[in-house]
């Protein structure tokens, strides 16, 4: 009974909040959001408590058994991500409550879309079958597109439309893959599929379609072009939400599919291709980030680069020893988490900085270092994790990935990881250098409200400290699913 309440609370109350807040507008929505976040936090903690007590389990929603019902897979990994979502989404929501101007016309859609997004993401983490993953992803996509278009200005609309088209193409490719798998094996459950699949053409084709689709949604190079405009144009807390969570949702689906089906359906060529694209993403994304003149665009391109690391999982878990696979999985998951925390902090801090100097260009930051705003501090702490320097979570993730690459003898990926860190430093310090430029004239610096600084600061500190307590999330993630 408690479990029912917990799961329902996690997945369905956000939908309820979405509908209600559509009716009451932005201002009142804040209060509702606050209440909702408390509830989500409680439910999440309850589930984590349950998990650590009794281990992972499968859960049939409303007691409708699969295949017609919706089966949830509640295991350590999924719940860790749920916890992450609760953290990051709450921070973004709180930030948005202060950051967004309530009187803009499109703003009343923010809370509904926010809650839809949250529900969708939780759905993706917990979904036990591939069709519900599809539904969850679609929900996330549509909400995210709506959030990007929130301001209703032409650039935002263009970015949103690009995003929508790209995401739809990806969704449909994914759906076709689902269809092929269902046609071939007659089941949608990931667990059953993992047992049923054989190395045949249909399965591999399905996997290829799904990966291609997920690659678009994750903005893997070279199908990343939709992301920077979308994340760059959206409001800062929205960008934070999108970069931290939305992109991760599809990436995580790819990871999960690969871990479950890859050993049978995968090929070293495919794994290599994914790794290669990941590397290319790291290099190209970081490089393009450095080329940017707008602060948020820079952070957005940084996301393109950072998701590249996630795809190093493919070569590092295919046809290698269990030890290496474990290390690589841990590394990638840790990277996913620390990047989510750090990138959300980065976007929110960037938003605050833009608020403070009144301009989104990097050169406008000149002199910001003198005022020593907390936002800059938060930006710096988060950047440490993005660059993968110790003691951040990003570093520990890198450490694990490097260990994996080294022990697998695949040194090239290790090199990619290291070079990626250096390239990240390139664009991060571009921002800091700009802050240190001494501006002789005109000091119109508006300190953002303190509470807006708290959210990025909190997340950044978490990202930074994650490296030292990495054992804990890794332990949680190790808690398996149903026996």
């Amino acid at each position: 009974m408690t479990l029912n309440l917990l799961v329902a609370g996690l997945l369905f109350t956000p939908l309820a909040w979405a509908v209600v807040s559509l009716l009451i507008g932005f201002r009142a929505g804040r209060w509702l959001a606050g209440a909702g976040m408390v509830l989500q936090a409680g439910v999440t903690l309850g589930l984590v408590w349950t998990l650590t007590g009794q281990g992972g389990f499968e859960y049939a929603l409303g007691d409708w058994q699969p295949p017609l019902g919706i089966g949830l897979r509640v295991d350590g990994m999924a719940l860790t991500l749920v916890l992450l979502t609760t953290l990051v989404a709450s921070a973004c929501g709180l930030h948005a409550a202060g950051y967004l101007e309530a009187d803009r016309p499109g703003q009343r859609y923010f809370w509904p879309l926010f809650w839809f997004l949250w529900a969708g993401i939780n759905g993706v983490w917990l979904a036990g079958d591939i069709f519900n993953i599809y539904v969850g992803l679609e929900l996330v996509t549509l909400a995210a597109v709506g959030l990007v278009a929130l301001s209703g200005e032409p650039p935002a609309l263009r970015a949103a439309l690009r995003y929508l088209f790209a995401a739809l193409a990806g969704s449909l490719a994914f759906l076709l893959g689902v269809a092929l798998l269902y046609g071939a094996y007659g089941t949608l459950s990931l667990r059953l599929l993992a047992e049923a699949v054989q190395a045949d053409g249909t399965g591999s084709a399905a996997l290829a379609l799904m990966f291609a689709g997920l690659a678009v949604k994750t903005a893997l190079f070279p199908v990343h072009a939709w992301l920077p405009p979308a994340h760059g144009i959206a409001h800062a807390p929205v960008s934070a939400l999108l970069s931290a969570l939305v992109v991760k949702a599809s990436a995580w689906v790819a990871i999960r599919l690969w871990l479950d089906l890859g050993p049978v359906l995968g090929s070293s060529g495919g794994a290599f291709l994914m790794g290669l694209l990941g590397t290319a993403a790291i290099v190209w994304g970081s490089w393009m980030a450095w080329c940017q003149t707008g602060l948020k665009k820079l952070v957005a391109y940084s996301s393109v680069g950072q998701v590249g690391y996630l795809f190093l999982l493919f070569p590092l878990t295919f046809a290698v020893s269990d030890r290496v696979a474990e290390l690589a999985t841990q590394g990638v998951m840790l990277h996913l988490i620390s990047h989510a925390l750090a990138k959300a902090a980065l976007f929110m801090a960037a938003g605050n900085l833009i608020w403070a100097v009144g301009d989104g260009r990097i050169v406008s930051l000149a002199g910001a270092g003198r005022h020593l705003p907390l936002s800059l501090f938060a930006f710096g702490l988060a950047a440490v994790s993005i660059m993968g320097l110790p003691p951040s979570g990003g570093f520990t993730a890198k450490w694990l990935l490097l260990q994996a690459a080294w022990q697998a003898g695949q040194w090239g990926w290790a090199l990619a990881v290291l070079v990626g860190g250096l390239l990240a430093a390139l664009y991060v310090f571009k921002v800091f250098a700009a802050c240190y430029v001494d501006k002789a004239s005109g000091d119109d610096f508006h300190y953002p409200p303190r509470r807006l600084d708290l959210m990025p600061l909190g997340l950044a500190v978490m990202a930074l400290g994650l490296g030292l307590v990495a054992g804990l999330p890794l332990h949680w993630m190790g808690i398996g699913g149903a026996p």
Partner: protein, 101 residues
């Protein structure tokens, strides 16, 4: 060749056509139509492949397609809203042209 397979192949064809249109077309509405074509193709594949040996239709497949259609409609609607606003504000029917921002 069973009818199911035929459907599936037809669906695949639609999928590829739609995708080609998606890649080649620039007009927003046409791209949306191409997307719908891709969607329809996918649904055809789904129902076509999911035939039970006894010839009975598979209820799961039906349910999936139904859900899929709902999602597709929602997406189409969102796309239309955005396009219309885009057209209202800029008077243009395509996205490319001047650079972003």
């Amino acid at each position: 060749m069973s009818p199911g397979l035929l459907y599936a192949l037809a669906g695949m064809l639609l999928f590829v056509m739609g995708l080609a249109g998606f890649a080649l077309l620039r007009h927003l509405l046409r791209r949306l139509m191409a997307f719908n074509l891709v969607g329809s193709g996918t649904f055809l594949v789904l129902v076509g492949l999911a035939q039970r040996p006894d010839g009975e239709p598979d209820p799961v497949a039906q349910a999936l397609v139904l859900t899929g259609i709902v999602v597709a409609i929602a997406a189409t609607a969102l796309a239309l809203v955005l396009m219309r606003r885009w057209f209202d504000l800029t008077g243009r029917t395509r996205l490319d042209g001047e650079a972003d921002e």
